[in-house]
Amino acid sequence: MARLVRLTDVWRMLDNCLPGYEPLEKPHHWAVKYRGRIYPKLPLGPHGPRRNPETFAGHVRSLVKFFEIPSDCVSKYVDLT
């Protein structure tokens, strides 16, 4: 089973480490837009859009590297190791 992280932690990390980003809600996933670039699929965890939903650590790692978010900032809000 792929490791999960809380979506609220991901948004808090992006609020602080990627200011100006735009979360885009889709029917079964989220997308993240920043300066004209889009990370199109941040899937929800196995429990879907319940209260306190989750996503997968690997997708967040990919998103972090796609937008070149500093790892020392990311690690303050979400554990991706």
Binding site: M1, A2, R3, K26, R37, I38, Y39, P40, K41, F56, A57, G58, H59, R61, S62, L63, V64, K65, F66, E68, T81
Partner: protein, 163 residues
């Protein structure tokens, strides 16, 4: 895709993939041929993750490299379908697909290049995966589909280890 022996956690395999998809959009039917896309399969602590380099904004998980690649292939098709859904016509779809495919993941690109160096120096082999030059030309072509055949139903997948 299998590897013998199973790679240690942190091990990374640089890959080149070629996929063909046929899909319906709003007022068009197209074939999308992605050639020599770049991806990195990494053994993480929770399993195997396949990270896109080009396209850079996607990833997929599997309990082994084969499953990770299968999920990656499916994710690629699903993103194309989403782009078709969101595009009002062929020109917009073509532009969105081109942007998606060419948008490099800079962090994973650095890791991919390091992994290519490691493959060259250490002669890493992956069972069932042929070797291809790391600098193989990359492109994506979106063409209007006018002639159809049963072969269009077949998934087209080629995978190579970049070296």
């Amino acid at each position: 895709m299998t590897e013998t022996p199973s790679p240690a956690i942190g091990a990374a395999i640089p890959l080149l993939f070629t996929y063909r998809d046929c899909l319906f959009g709003n007022g068009f039917v197209v074939e999308v041929q992605a050639t020599n896309g770049r991806a990195l399969c990494v053994h993480e602590s929770d399993g195997f993750w396949m990270y896109g380099v080009n396209p850079g904004a996607m990833a997929a998980f599997g309990k082994d490299p084969t499953e990770a690649h299968s999920e990656f292939r499916q994710m690629f098709s699903n993103i194309l379908k989403d782009l078709a859904q969101e595009s009002s016509g062929l020109d917009e779809f073509r532009s969105r697909v081109s942007q998606f495919f060419s948008d490099t993941n800079p962090g994973h690109e650095r890791d991919w290049l390091r992994a290519v160096d490691a493959v060259r120096k250490e002669g890493v082999t992956v069972e069932g995966i042929p070797k291809a030059p790391a600098n193989s030309p990359r492109q994506i072509v979106v063409s209007m589909k006018k002639i159809f055949s049963a072969n269009d139903n077949e998934a087209s997948i080629q995978l190579a280890r970049a070296a």
